[in-house]
Symmetry: C2
Subunit: 310 residues, 2 copies
C-alpha cells in the first residue's frame, strides 16, 4: 500500500493533466458508466463529515473520500476543512493508496471543474475574471483558469476589505492584476467570466447585474440552503449547466430555481454532455451559468491521477 501526504501530493499535481482526467470523468458520469451511491454523513456538535465514494465500472479502482468541516478549527490554528482519499482495487478490494491530502484535492478538483466550465462556456475574449469571495476557492479557481484563458485581470469582491486586500496581494504575486471592486454591479460590468465562491445563503448575483455575453460558474452552494445566484438570473440565462442533474435537483442554485418555478428541469444540460459534444456557448452574446455541487467522479479521477503519477 502506497501512502502520500499533502506535501507529496502537492508536488505531483503540477505534472498532471487534470482537466483531461476530470473531463473524461464527467463524460463517463453523464453516460451512466459511473456508480456513485448517496453521500454518507455524520453531523456532530463541532463539525460535519461527508463520505463520497464510487467507481467507473470499466476501470481498475474504487475511491472512498472522507471530507470534514469543523468550523471552530481556525480558532485552534487548524484548517476548518480536512480529509483523505482512499484508492482500492476493484479486482481484490486491496487498499492501493492512501492520499492524506487534508482536503486539498477536494479544493483542486472543484477548481478544475470551474476551469472546464470556462473552457466550454466562457466567451472567446475575456475582459476580466470576476471573483466573488476571497477564500481558498477564490484563489484556486483563478489559478486553474490560467490553463484555459490568457486573461490575467481579476476583479474581486468580498465582504471583508482586509481579506480582499490580502487576496489582491497574494494573487498579484501569482501574475494577475487584481482590482478590488466596491460593488457587485461594478464587478459584473467589468468581468464577463464570473466565479462565485461564497457560502452565501441569500443571492449575491442578480439578473439586473449581468450583461449579455457573460458566463457565471457558481461554486459555493452545495446544500439545499446555500444560494449565490438569484433565481431570476437562472431564468434569464440562455444555457444552464449542472455538474450532476441528479444532485442539482436536490441542492445548489438549480435546486432553488426549480423549486421556485423559474426554470424547468428539461432545460438543464449536464456538464458531461457539453464536454462530449464539444458544444457549449453558441454565440458570444449568450448568458451561460454552470452550477457546481461537487460529484464523487471528480474525487475518483483526481485520486487515480495522483496515484498513477506517484
Amino acid at each position: 500500500m502506497k501512502q502520500l501526504n499533502r506535501q507529496q501530493i502537492m508536488s505531483i499535481l503540477p505534472k498532471l493533466d487534470l482537466i483531461s482526467a476530470i473531463e473524461d470523468g464527467f463524460v463517463q458520469y453523464s453516460r451512466g458508466k459511473v456508480v456513485v451511491p448517496p453521500v454518507g454523513e455524520l453531523l456532530m456538535d463541532k463539525g460535519e463529515v461527508h463520505i463520497k465514494y464510487g467507481y467507473v465500472t470499466a476501470e481498475p479502482y474504487y475511491v472512498i473520500k472522507i471530507a470534514s468541516g469543523f468550523y471552530q478549527n481556525p480558532a485552534l490554528g487548524l484548517s476548518s476543512s480536512n480529509g483523505l482519499m482512499l484508492l482500492f482495487s476493484q479486482q481484490t478490494g486491496e487498499l492501493v493508496c492512501s492520499l492524506l491530502d487534508e482536503g486539498y484535492l477536494t479544493d483542486v478538483r472543484t477548481a478544475i471543474a470551474g476551469a472546464i466550465c470556462a473552457k466550454y462556456l466562457a466567451p472567446k475574449s475575456i475582459s476580466a475574471i470576476g471573483i466573488i469571495g476571497t477564500g481558498i476557492q477564490a484563489r484556486l479557481q483563478a489559478l486553474y483558469l490560467k490553463e484555459v484563458t490568457d486573461c490575467r485581470k481579476i476583479v474581486v469582491w468580498g465582504r471583508n476589505n482586509i481579506k480582499a486586500e490580502k487576496y489582491q496581494y497574494d494573487m498579484q504575486k501569482q501574475g494577475f492584476t487584481v482590482v478590488i471592486s466596491k460593488s457587485i454591479t461594478e464587478l459584473a460590468e467589468q468581468a464577463n467570466l464570473i466565479v462565485s465562491t461564497t457560502p452565501a445563503t441569500a443571492p449575491i448575483l442578480k439578473a439586473e447585474h449581468i450583461k449579455p455575453g457573460t458566463h457565471i460558474t457558481a461554486v459555493g452552494s452545495d446544500t439545499p440552503t446555500k444560494q449565490e445566484l438569484a433565481t431570476d438570473l437562472l431564468a434569464k440565462a440562455d444555457l444552464v449547466v449542472a455538474d450532476s442533474l441528479n444532485q442539482c435537483q436536490q441542492r445548489g442554485e438549480i435546486f432553488q430555481a426549480i423549486t421556485s418555478d423559474k426554470i424547468a428541469e428539461a432545460n438543464i444540460t449536464e456538464l458531461g454532455d457539453i464536454i462530449a459534444s464539444g458544444q457549449g456557448r453558441d454565440e458570444e452574446q449568450q448568458i451561460t451559468i454552470a452550477d457546481l455541487t461537487g460529484v464523487a467522479i471528480q474525487d475518483i479521477k483526481i485520486a487515480e491521477a495522483v496515484y498513477l503519477a506517484s
Copy 2:
C-alpha cells in the same frame, strides 16, 4: 497521525479488556447514545464493500470502517475479506489513527460479542461448546469463550471433513479437546453452549435438536437471505436477544422468524439492555438465543481500545 498495521494490532490485542469495552458500547447503543447512520455499500463485479461508521455522542472519536469481501481472492492467494478502520477526532475532524487491520478487527469484535452473549446467557455449567462451521469465526469464537467459561471441550460440525480435521488439529493446539461430530443431533446432545458460524441460507439448527438448558449464539447471518436457525427454534426459545433491534428487524435469524410470524418484535430483548440490567438467563433449563448481525458500535469500541493502548 498514528498508523498501525495488522501485526502491530495483533500484538496489542492481548493487552486489552475488549469484553468490557464492547459491553460498554452495547449499553450506550441501547440507551440511544450512539449515532450509527445506514451502512454505505458498493456492489462490484468481483466483490462488495461496506462502510460502517458512527460515534458515541459523549466520547472523543468517530470511526469509519471499510470492509470488503472479494470471493475470488483465495484463488489468487489472498484473503477474501479485507478492510481498515479510521479513527478521527470529534473535536477537530483530524485523522487520529489508521488501523490497517485487513479485516481482522471485524473478526475479533464479532467473537467478543459472542463471548458477551455467553457470559450473560449460557448455563452456569457448560458440558461442551458446540461449534457449527470450521472457518475463522469457528476458531475465534472458541478462543474468546475462554474468557467467560472454563469449559475446554469442543464438539464441532462442518460439511467438509478435511476442514473439520484441520480445525480439530488447530484448536487442540489451543488447549481444547475437540470431538468431530457426525451430525447436528449429536452435537446438540453433547453441547449446551452452541455457536453457529456458517454462511448458510437454509436452517441447520432446528427446534427438535435443542434440549432445555441450551444457549445458542448465531453469528453467520447478517443479510436478509442467510439463515442458520429454523424459525420454530426461535419460537421455542424462552429468551431471544438481538445485538441491534433495528438491524435484526431487517436481516438475520430474528428477521426470518418475524417475517414468518413465529415470534413478535415485542418479545425480543436488546443485548445492551441485558448487559445493563445484568439479567440474562433466569433458570438453568431455559433455551436462550442471541442473534448477532454486527453493529458499528463494536467497530467504534475496538478501534478506540486498540488506539488508546498503542
